[in-house]
């Protein structure tokens, strides 16, 4: 299976990319790790098919993490394998590490990037729910300026972001929470490597073990990654208890809507959501309760 013809441009710098995008708009597509875009091109399912691919693989300044202004900034070209090995990311957003270590398979983690993963907006993508739950954002730049787009505002639909064709996602930003916080990402695997759905939770607790802040994101359970504020709202202000988890889980299921497709029904998705929610909540809470503790499992919380 082979892609239609295109022209190839090796990106020399971010500025170079912005110039090209400003000139070509939707006629150009940036190529990050290629884990999503290249199969789509090979299936000839990208419409319109880009006439130029701008290869970002050479832009080392878009790779790596840094802590700036209460945020952890992850370069958009950071590969999943690098994110999964990043100690700072693991500390700030353990759920992100769960995700990074469970995306696809080893080769995909060696190839794919966080920015590419987010921009692909695949239903069962992992970075979407993680970033939504964390209340994070992406940083987008263009010739016309730069802006932060909240994760919750990034996804416009399946395979679709709200970024403009002339914008380049350069960073993914996780808020660094003060005090006791934790997050976790749980997945239901149909088979190893293939998830049916995921649930990500980030939360903070006070000294009295009350939940002071929570974010909930889901993947695969809705047509594209979404935040579920209804479930988060149930948690906030409460101490953790089985009853609270059950109540929040019901709120999550109720908020999910009726996403039925060839994989499974909405009713089944609600069942899965409940199970994943409890798993992620327990792990996130446990992490928050023990400051600086490492994630519960080596290879994701599933």
């Amino acid at each position: 299976m082979y892609p239609p013809r295109f022209r190839y441009l090796r990106a020399e710098s971010t500025e170079h990319v912005l110039d090209v995008l400003a000139e070509l708009g939707a006629d150009a597509r940036v190529l990050a790790g290629g884990a999503s875009l290249i199969p789509q091109l090979k299936y000839r399912s990208v419409s319109p098919s880009p006439s130029v691919l701008v290869d970002l693989g050479w832009l080392d300044d878009l790779r790596g993490t840094s802590r700036v202004d209460g945020q952890l900034r992850v370069g958009a070209m950071t590969r999943h394998v690098e994110a999964g090995a990043d100690d700072v990311l693991a500390e700030v957003a353990p759920g992100a590490r769960d995700a990074a270590r469970s995306i696809g398979d080893p080769q995909v983690r060696n190839m794919g990037t966080i920015g590419g993963g987010l921009a692909a907006v695949e239903a069962t993508g992992d970075w979407g729910p993680v970033l939504v739950a964390a209340g994070g954002s992406v940083h987008a730049v263009s010739r016309d300026g730069e802006r932060d787009v909240l994760a919750n505002d990034l996804f416009a639909g399946p395979l679709l972001t709200t970024l403009r064709p002339d914008e380049l996602m350069t960073e993914v930003r996780f808020p660094v929470m003060a005090g006791r916080s934790g997050s976790a990402h749980a997945k239901l695997m149909i088979r190893a490597v293939t998830a049916l759905g995921s649930c990500s939770i980030a939360l903070a607790i006070d000294a009295a073990d009350r939940i002071t802040w929570a974010g909930v994101g889901v993947g695969g359970l809705t047509p594209y990654p979404m935040s579920v504020p209804e479930a988060a709202a149930v948690l906030v202000g409460q101490p953790m208890s089985p009853e609270l988890a059950t109540e929040a889980k019901s709120a999550l299921s109720a908020a999910l809507g009726s996403h039925t497709d060839v994989k499974t029904s909405a009713a089944h998705r609600r069942g899965i959501a409940g199970s994943l929610f409890v798993e992620a909540l327990d792990a996130a809470y446990a992490r928050a309760a023990v400051a600086g503790v490492a994630p519960i499992t080596e290879e994701g919380a599933s």
């Binding site: 299976m1 082979y2 239609p4 013809r5 299936y43 000839r44 398979d105 239901l188 149909i190 088979r191 190893a192 490597v193 293939t194 049916l196 039925t260 497709d261 060839v262 994989k263 499974t264 029904s265 009713a267 089944h268 069942g271 899965i272 409940g274 199970s275």
Partner: protein, 824 residues
């Protein structure tokens, strides 16, 4: 590029197997885990698969396929395709009748009615590409030949076709009815196979029954999906009117014959088919596919070699599927658990009527529903129904898997009905060891086995009583833990009247003037390790090392005619033919040496590259010297001894009959390996996810020629069976669009999905063959399907849910638990 394999010297030192199984037939080389001679090239990345064949001027074919499940093709305009630079030729369905006859049927050689009109099979004339009607998504419609695969795929975007979409038939039972849309206007209905088989007095059995259990059991569609997709290269020599075809096939000789049959112009073309390294077959490469006709034809018409390599997306729709059947089955029992009789009505979803072997597969199911049990009252009616799906073809387990699924499910269902433990009900009804050879109700003669002992071994390895206690405890906590078992027979080495499966196996063996041995067979290898095991058998008989033996398979020019690889027949007729050929050669060597040494040939033995007088180390002559006499000093031969050391052996399967009797019964399979499996599972009712906690398989395939290879075959087969029942399904939407386009949607197990396996062996040698071997590579595909389904059924019992649908995927299980249908 031919597949000549020689055992290398470094392997000879390591022939002592660490894993000998008690009771196995062992010799110098047989019964030992000799390391595979095939490995080296594969490990170094220099083996030649079809995709690696490069020829000067090579062109690349791509195939335009139907995007609809059922439609009239109103217009096919290839003008823009032809105009694309780099496109060399296009072929549409309407072009073909001038070059090819209708494709011959497969595996049956005849369209004529079978004896007594049973089975009644309908065929439809095909020329390889659809002409005015398409009947499944993926049906080949046009061939585009281009300078590169990239250009070819560009050209696909330029095909201008118009269709009138017709209502699809997507369910076999509904499709059999008079009101269903018809796929073939000339047929009175969609039933392509109508077959009835019976034995004993089934009416009486049901009249006498204390208990009758009945169920509708559906087996889902899945298949073998080898990692190497299909591939073909055709190259035509105009001067010699000779077509060479490299084909990733299990049946080189049959494809060659069918191609010669089919090609009309040029007249009397000669065809050589070479199967080089083949990256897995599993039945998917056993058939005569449209591409196997049109790609070689394109090379003839272009006068340049043409290559076609299937994409995975094509594979999912264009390579045969298997297994989809619905059984309305009833079992009659005494209240003490004695099974009196079985009645079954099968609707097999044949997909479209293409010649890839499904016909034979579903008929096989009817033969083996009685399974491992003393069931002599049996009646089965099969309706094979054409639908707008990918054709039903062969797949490892070939119809027997479907039979094992329903009988093993029914035994559990019956055990519940009469209040017995499923193990106990099995033990009560098993064919007993002293009843072999056992004539089953449908005519085959089961060769040997010990079912009670195998099941006992499996139950004991699984700590059955402990598992039941654990289950009891788990149930009190509200957990859904289940225990399943199955004893699955896997009839092997099929043969049948009027088909290409002819029940014999030819081996040509030659010792050259230097004492080196060359073996060529009519078989094919797709990873089974034939070259290694053939060299073991030959070395055993001739007293040479395996390294002295080279093996050729898969090339029709260099090998004797044979029907290839299917039905585990290498293990039965293949090994037998090799052994008998080697014994004939051994006898000749001893006759020549006897003349030289002036002793009786019966006093001679072959050992260490020499012919020796038994018990007299001084009286020896080297094989090379004997060979020189046979070839170069024929005046030293006794009168009537033919020169040379080359002979053919045609081994006929002694345990089959060819013709069906008046009740449809025929002894079509000759050897009956089996496995007793036990599984423990837990089901999460909230997600529908099934976790396999324990899996035990006790396998009996007779003697094991190379125990390590046998073990590898069995573990690999279990992965197919476990994947098939847990994950894999070819599904279609309401319009007949396939939902599985690649390995992202069609989920085969990864290394993380295989449970830890506890394996054991039992050895009941095949009494009909010289080596006592049975098929070793298919049983594992069969046994996990009923075993795990029974385990899940057992798990769901406390919540009153009867398992009716496969696979055991989270979606299917959840929807059966929550009783709002079987899911999307």
């Amino acid at each position: 590029m031919n597949q000549i394999v020689t055992t290398t010297t470094d392997d000879v030192a390591s022939t002592q197997a660490p894993d000998e199984v008690h009771g196995n037939l062992t010799g110098r080389y047989v019964g030992r885990s000799v390391k595979r001679s095939e490995d080296r090239d594969l490990l170094m990345g220099r083996a030649t698969f079809v995709g690696d064949v490069k020829l000067p001027g090579l062109l690349h074919a791509v195939i335009y396929r139907s995007p609809h499940a059922h439609a009239r093709l109103l217009k096919l305009d290839l003008t823009r395709v032809q105009a694309l630079p780099g496109v060399v030729m296009v072929l549409a369905g309407s072009d073909l009748p001038q070059y090819v006859r209708r494709m011959e049927p497969f595996p049956f050689q005849s369209r004529d009615p079978f004896l007594g009109g049973n089975p009644r099979i309908k065929f439809f004339d095909r020329h390889g590409l659809a002409i005015d009607r398409v009947r499944y998504v993926g049906e080949p419609v046009a061939v585009i030949v281009a300078e590169s695969r990239y250009i070819g795929e560009d050209a696909l975007d330029l095909v201008d076709a118009e269709y009138e979409v017709l209502p699809p038939v997507l369910d076999a039972e509904a499709g059999a009815g008079p009101d269903a849309p018809k796929l073939y206007d000339s047929w009175e209905d969609n039933v392509s196979i109508n077959f009835h088989v019976s034995g004993g007095d089934v009416e009486r059995a049901f009249a006498d029954a204390d208990v009758v259990v009945s169920e509708v059991l559906q087996h889902h569609r899945f298949s073998g999906t080898p990692i190497e997709p299909r591939g073909i290269v055709g190259s035509y020599d105009r001067n010699a009117n000779f077509l060479t075809v490299w084909d990733s096939t299990q049946i080189s000789h049959v494809v060659a014959a069918l191609l010669e049959d089919s090609i009309l112009v040029p007249e009397s073309i000669k065809v050589r088919v070479i199967a080089p390294k083949v990256g897995g077959g599993f039945g998917q490469k056993w058939g005569f596919y449209p591409e196997e006709l049109v790609v070689p034809l394109a090379s003839v018409l272009c006068g340049r070699p043409v290559k076609w390599i299937e994409t995975r997306r094509e594979h999912m729709v264009a390579t045969n599927h298997a297994r989809e059947q619905k059984h309305h089955i009833e079992m009659a029992l005494k209240s003490d658990g004695t099974i009196l009789g079985v009645r079954d009505k099968i609707y097999a979803d044949m997909g479209d009527a293409y010649p890839v072997g499904g016909f034979a597969s579903v008929i096989t199911t009817t033969m083996f529903v009685p399974g491992a049990y003393r069931i002599q009252n049996y009646d089965c009616h099969l309706f094979g129904v054409v639908t707008n799906k990918t054709p039903y073809g062969a797949h490892r387990g070939f119809g027997k898997s479907e039979a094992a699924y329903v009988i093993e499910r029914m035994v559990d269902i019956a055990a519940t009905a009469v209040g017995m433990d499923p193990a106990e009900l099995r033990q009560k009804n098993f064919i007993q060891p002293d009843e072999f050879p056992y004539r089953c109700v449908t005519g085959s003669r089961y060769d040997s086995g010990d079912y009670p002992r195998a099941l006992d071994m499996a139950l004991s390895a699984a700590d059955y009583l402990g598992a039941r206690a654990m289950q009891e405890a788990a149930r009190t906590e509200g957990r859904l833990v289940g225990i399943g078992m199955a004893l699955a027979i896997e009839p092997s080495s099929s043969t049948r009247m009027g088909s290409y499966n002819s029940g014999y196996y030819t081996v040509r063996i030659k010792m050259d003037p230097n004492g080196r041995v060359f073996v060529a067979t009519g078989g094919n290898d797709e990873g089974q390790g034939h070259a290694t095991t053939i060299s073991q058998l030959v070395a055993e008989e001739l007293g040479v090392t395996p390294a002295a033996v080279s093996v050729l398979e898969g090339d029709t020019m260099g090998t004797p005619y044979g029907s290839g690889s299917y039905s585990s027949r290498f293990s039965i007729v293949g090994t037998s033919s090799v052994t008998m050929a080697a014994r004939e050669l051994s006898a000749k060597l001893r006759r020549i040496a006897a003349n030289l040494l002036e002793v009786d040939p019966d006093d001679l033995e072959l050992e260490g590259g020499e012919v020796r007088v038994r018990g007299d180390v001084s009286a020896t002559v080297s094989l090379q010297r004997v060979a020189r006499i046979a070839y170069h000093r024929i005046h030293d031969l006794v009168e009537d001894e033919e020169p040379g050391l080359e002979l053919s052996y045609h081994y006929r399967d002694p345990n089959v009959d060819f013709s069906a009797d008046e009740r449809g019964r025929v002894a079509m399979f000759s050897s009956f390996p089996y496995a007793a499996d036990v599984a423990v599972v837990e089901v999460d009712p909230e997600t529908g996810k099934v976790v396999i906690l324990k899996y035990v398989s006790v396998h009996d395939c007779g003697n094991m020629l190379n125990p390590r290879i046998v073990e590898g075959q069995h573990v690999g087969a279990l992965a197919h069976g476990i994947g098939g029942v847990m994950l894999e399904e070819f599904a279609f939407d309401a319009q007949g669009q396939p939902l599985n386009g690649n390995f992202r949607d069609y989920l085969i197990p990864t290394a993380l999905d295989m449970p830890e396996l506890t394996l054991d062996h039992l050895i009941s040698p095949n009494p009909f063959t010289p080596g006592g071997y049975k098929g070793a590579g298919e049983t594992g595909t069969v046994s996990p399907v009923p075993c795990l389904a029974n385990a899940v059924r057992d798990a769901l019992m406390p919540i009153g849910v009867e398992l009716t649908r496969l696979p055991l995927s989270p979606a299917r299980i959840w929807h059966q638990i929550h009783s709002d249908g079987a899911g999307p």
